[in-house]
Each structure stands twice: as structure tokens, then as C-alpha cells.
Amino acid sequence: MSVAFIEGGFMSKGKKWVALVLAVALVLAVALTGCASKTDTGTSDTTGNTTKTVTLKTIEPGKLLVGSDTAFPPFESMNGNVAEGFDVDLMKAIGEKLGLEVTFKTEIFDTLIPTLKAGGKFDVIASGMTIKPDRQLEIDFSDPYYDSNQSLVMKKGTTYTGPEQLSGKKVGVQSGTTGEAWAKENVTGATLVPFKNATDAFAALQAGNVDAVVNDLPVSTELLKDDDRGLAIVAQIPTGEQYGFGVSKDNPDLTAAINKALAEIKSDGTYNDIYQKWFGILPE
């Protein structure tokens, strides 16, 4: 708006430019000092040691901001504008142990890691994310909190004989997931169609835009649970992958604290309660 005002014409050309540069400089200055003060308060807090009262470095003091692809039930999904699910409850329980208020922020799955690395938006990733060596190069992971596998979903009534059957077909995957990596390595000759979340991939399968979808087994099970979409899990793919919470490599204290809280939750039964709430059974 200020630009339009300047363009209004009562300033000379030279003055216009000076004003513009000044305005930009002002905005930058405000933004930079804003950031700086935030990090200052953060670092000054990390003086605590192994004793219980370690003040954790988070983006907003007293809060734990969690990045999540909230279209992945039963791990995380949006109920209205409130996030709910296994990961959400688990994270809240962890937040309680850490004395931090947990807030979920929705983010596309494949941008979670770059965003966490860039910093400033959320402290933790809780998004049914598998602990993988190539991801571990980018970020740290907490201890595993859930064992998962992959699944292949096709139209109901399709007989599936093996990955060769998908050669020349279109296979829908969620972008950046282990399902995508599995399909890339194991389904040769198929075109992989990446979607931004699992629900979009299933919608495309239902519409016939793709011939199959590779997705995490518990999520496929949940999505195909009771609504009659004409889709079925045709193969369970044992991958034995494990989900973990992602934390920036710059914040090892937080990773340690989450691991500690996770262990406590597992031993005091909270984990089992949450597990039973979302999966209907107790963990083995």
C-alpha cells in the first residue's frame, strides 16, 4: 500500500526511491530483530543440566509446536479445525510431561523435513514418519513409538498376484513417504503418481485415475474401515518400519527430553491407553 501511495506522484522520482529503500530496510530490520530476540531467549534458557528442570529451547517459550500432515488417520486427522489421533494424543501426553503446551500445525508431508530444518515454524514432527537412514542425515528422531508396515490397495475384487502385475499401470503414492520409496524400488515399469496426502491418493484410486495405491497399512485399514468406497487392501507388505518423532539436529536436548517422556508414558500405562483408544486393541 505504501508503494501505491508513493507512486501517487507528490514525491520526486529520487525521493520515491529513497523512501522505498527505507521502507524495505525498516521491514527487514523489524523482521531480523524479531527473530534475533526469539533465539536469544531460547539460548539463554539452555543452562540447565541433567537435573529435571532443563528449560527446553522451543520456538515459543512454554509451547511445543508440532508439524504434522493431518490427513493420516488414525495417527492424525482434522476433526473440524482440531487435530486428533494417536500421534496427537501421544504428543500431548509428552507435552504434559515436559510442561509444554502442545499445538499442532498442518503441513504437507513432503515439506515437513525441510521446514523443520529451516526452523521457526515448529519444533517437532509427529506425522507417522518412519525412521530412515536418509532422513536421519537431515534430522534427529526420537525412539520408535509405533511399528508399521505397507499395504497395496486396489479396487475391490481385483486379484493381485505380485508387483509385476502393476507394470505399465499407474500407482498412486503419498509424496515423500516410505510407500513411495517401496513402490519406486519394487514396482518396476509402473508410473508413480505422487499425491500430497493419503486421502487424495485414495480419492484418485476411487475415481480410477490410478490403478493402485501404496500406503501405510494402519492408515489404509482405517480409511477403508467402514465407508464403502469399493476399495480393498489386496496385499500387506511387511516392511517392519518404525515411526519416530522428528526433531531438528540443532536441538538435541529436546530429543532427549522426548525420549525420556516417551519411556515414562510407556511404563506408566498412558501409552497403552492411547493405543487402545485409537487401534481398539492393546499393543503386543
Binding site: D110, N149, S175, P194, G240
Partner: protein, 445 residues
């Protein structure tokens, strides 16, 4: 088909063959691992690669050790091994030791306790350097079955496990060369530069996104001519003297302009297809774009036509011209000139809007860059995509500016306000109420 007798002998023969094969299979398969396969995570050679071995052990196979005999040219010296064992879908805990013989290229996994029979094995051998030349290679695997009672430990082998990759293309080679350069390391040590302008990723993204750029361009180039016709037709319908025709055009224009293009795309790509009505992806995309753009162009054309003063019509009809003759020879030629800048703007918008097709799996510029970012965890591909969009839009934005300037000069004989930057605002002589409305709605599409 054949002679009945011959057919019978043939069938007998094939039965016998099948029998032999089956007994052979039984003899070996019963004790061997099943469903064994090896996959690699890279498409090209000459780089650190992850090998994944998947198999299920037989009923009588408590395995204590697995050896991977990497062929000549593969260097597993710095390899790391991950083991995942499952019973069905349930993950088993495991402990093992790995040993690597760099001379022979053998990577061994020794389990602390024998793995129960009928387990699913997923063994990843990471960071194995592969030879640069592509092709199909075989990875022989041997495994040791624990001694049971009378028999001693037995070494069994799985052969025929092949994998393949290609020789890296030129950009890949350049990118790897960049990896080793000192200035690249310096450059990448700045977080922002590393995230948005990583030279290695840049080199990779440019050729990869080119196909997407062509796709976006071809979508809009196919759709735009159709929407010009559609727009013109709709404009005349909207100006028609017959009320129902006018209403129809109004409804169409308002519905299309009043809903997001994103929604329209989903209606065609998901909605219609769920009901069984489906066209090829490309055709559907062109139709949605043309349908959408027609509504905007219709308003642009209508406003353009109506901005020509009524006097011209009167003058034309006083010369004995019919309505359509006046249109054809007097009004339209003037309209074209006036409408050209706004039309070009519409083209720019439409070109940018092709990005929305990423959501329905059309491999245009946006989807390709998203994929690239997802795979690399680096945002450089977005910058490359931006450059590809700008190659088209910047010259056109310039063109709009110049067209407006010329138009203003010819109509008013005055200098237009520094036009380029205000392409969306008042469009010189056309800035009647209609035009502002059209332009304003555009931006929020």
C-alpha cells in the same frame, strides 16, 4: 486346432515336464528361502547405493549367518547393515554383527541367535559404491543354516538375484563433480543458499523440469485458442437481446468466475470420474482450462465491445450496415486493440494456473518440482520452477506494458502512466467500471 492325437501327446508331454519341474522345485524350494529379491535405491551407477534384500526363510531354516557376495567393481568397504526381521507383519527384535571383507567384496551378517524359521528378512546394505556403468548385475547371497542334531551347519545359496541401474546422465555427472568443489562447499555452508540455490540440485533440476515446463506450456497453448472462441461466443450471448440466452451466459460466467479453478479441476478429475464419465487426463485439463478462461475472456470481450462508443454503431448503421456487419468491420477491429493487453494478462494468469493440476497428478512444472523437492529434501527445484515460469511471464508482462502504452498514446495522444507495473490496475482507456471489476476478480482466482 491341432490333430487330436498330437494334442494328447503334447498334453502328456507337458504334464511330464511339469512333474519334473515340480519335483525339482520341491527338492530345492522346500529348503530354500522364498520370495528372495534384491532391489537398489538408485537409478544410476557410480554412487553410494542401498541394497535391500528381502526373503522369507523356509520351514527348516534357522539362519545364523547371511553373506552378500558383491561382484567385481562394487565397493562395500564402508557399508552399513540394517536388519529388519518380521514374523508375518510383526517386527522381531534382533541383534547381529556385521563384517566386511573389502578384498572379496563380501558383506556378512552374523546373528547372535539363530533367526526362527519362516521369518521375513529385510536386510539393507547401505553405502555400497557401485561401478558407474549401468546394466544388470547379479548379487549372489549365501546363508548358513544352524546345525540341527545330526547334521552340521549347512551353507545354502540363493542365486539369480539381479538388479539393474543405468549409467548416469550428464547433469548427474556434473552434479557429482560439483560435490567435490571447494567453492560449492563454501556456498552451501550458508543455510539459505544451500536450501534454495544448491548448485548440485540446480544442475539436476533444470533438465528434469524442462519436460514439465513444456507440459504446462502446451496445456495453456491448447486451451487458450479454445477459450478465445468460447469467450467471444459467450460475450455475444451476454449482450443478446433474447433474455434466456443472456441469462444462460450470465449463469455460466458467474458460476465459473465465482468458484475457484481448483474446485473446477476437482469436479472434472474426481467428481465426474467417480460417476464413470472419464476423458484422458490431458484432454480433461485442456477442457477445464478453456472452460474457466472462457468466462473471464467473455467479460473482457464484452467490456471491450461495450467500451466502443455507441456513436460508432449509429454511424455504421447509417451507412446501411447490419448489426453483424458493424461488428465485423467497425467494432471488433477496434476492440481487439483495446482488449489485447488484458487478454495477455489473462494468458499469463492461465499459464500460472496450470500449477493447480499438480493436485490431480498431471506432470506439469509444479508437480515435477514438488516431486524433486520431496525426493531431495531441498527447495532448489522450486527456484528452478520459478525461473521456468518467469521465462514466459516476464516477456509477456513487458508486452502488456508496451501494448498499454501504445494504446494510450493512440487513443488519447498522451503518455500513459508508467504502465508496466500497473498492468492490473486501471488499463488506460479501458478503465471503465467493468474493466476494473474484471481485473480485480482475476487476482483473487
Amino acid at each position: 486346432m491341432g490333430h487330436p492325437n498330437r494334442r494328447r501327446t503334447l498334453r502328456l508331454f507337458s504334464l511330464a515336464i511339469a512333474g519334473i519341474v515340480l519335483t525339482c522345485a520341491f527338492a530345492t524350494q522346500a529348503i530354500a528361502m522364498t520370495g528372495a529379491k534384491v532391489t537398489v535405491d538408485r537409478d544410476t551407477g557410480g554412487q553410494l547405493t542401498r541394497f535391500t534384500f528381502a526373503a522369507t526363510s523356509g520351514q527348516d531354516e534357522p539362519v545364523t549367518r547371511i553373506d552378500f557376495l558383491f561382484p567385481e567393481g562394487f565397493d562395500p568397504a564402508d557399508a552399513k547393515v540394517d536388519v529388519t526381521l518380521l514374523e508375518g507383519l510383526k517386527r522381531l527384535s534382533t541383534s547381529f554383527e556385521q563384517s566386511i571383507d573389502p578384498q572379496t567384496g563380501v558383506v556378512s551378517v552374523m546373528f547372535d541367535a539363530p533367526v526362527p524359521p519362516k521369518s521375513n528378512y529385510l536386510i539393507q546394505v547401505r553405502d555400497v559404491m557401485t561401478p558407474i556403468a549401468g546394466g544388470t548385475y547379479e548379487l549372489p547371497v549365501q546363508y548358513t543354516v544352524e546345525a540341527s542334531g545330526t547334521s552340521s551347519p549347512e551353507v545354502r545359496s540363493v542365486s539369480g538375484l539381479t538388479f539393474k541401474y543405468n549409467t548416469p546422465p550428464r547433469e548427474e555427472v556434473i552434479s557429482r563433480w560439483l560435490d567435490s568443489q571447494a567453492w560449492v562447499k563454501m556456498w552451501n555452508s550458508v543455510k539459505v543458499l544451500d536450501l534454495f540455490l544448491k548448485p548440485q540440485q540446480f544442475v539436476r533440476a533444470v533438465p528434469l523440469l524442462f519436460a514439465g515446463w513444456l507440459m504446462s506450456l502446451s496445456l495453456v497453448l491448447s486451451a487458450f485458442p479454445i477459450s478465445i472462441m468460447g469467450g467471444l461466443g459467450t460475450a455475444f450471448m451476454k449482450m443478446s437481446k433474447v433474455p434466456p440466452v443472456r441469462w444462460l451466459a450470465s449463469i455460466y460466467i458467474n458460476v465459473i468466475r465465482g468458484t475457484p479453478l481448483f474446485l473446477q479441476i476437482f469436479v472434472v478429475f474426481i467428481g465426474l470420474r467417480t460417476t464413470g464419465l472419464r476423458f484422458p487426463d490431458y484432454l480433461s485439463a485442456v477442457v477445464v482450462l478453456a472452460f474457466n478462461s472462457s468466462a473471464y475472456l467473455a467479460e473482457i470481450f464484452r467490456a471491450g465491445i461495450q467500451s466502443i462508443s455507441k456513436g460508432q454503431f449509429e454511424a455504421a448503421s447509417s451507412l446501411g450496415m447490419t448489426y453483424w456487419q458493424a461488428m465485423r468491420y467497425v467494432i471488433i477491429p477496434q476492440t481487439v486493440r483495446r482488449v489485447l493487453p488484458t487478454m495477455t494478462s489473462e494468458f499469463i494468469l492461465l499459464f500460472k494456473d496450470t500449477a493447480l493440476f499438480a493436485a490431480v497428478g498431471i506432470f506439469e512444472l509444479m508437480l515435477r518440482s514438488q516431486n524433486f523437492v520431496a525426493r531431495s529434501g531441498n527447495l532448489t527445484a522450486y527456484v528452478v520452477a520459478a525461473l521456468y515460469y518467469l521465462i514466459i511471464t516476464i516477456p509477456l508482462i513487458n508486452l502488456v506494458g508496451r501494448l498499454e502504452y501504445k494504446l494510450a498514446q493512440s487513443e488519447h495522444g498522451v503518455t500513459a502512466p508508467t504502465g508496466k507495473r500497473r498492468a492490473r490496475g486501471g488499463v488506460g482507456p479501458l478503465s471503465g467500471p467493468d474493466f476494473d471489476a474484471t481485473a480485480a476478480k482475476h487476482e483473487s482466482r
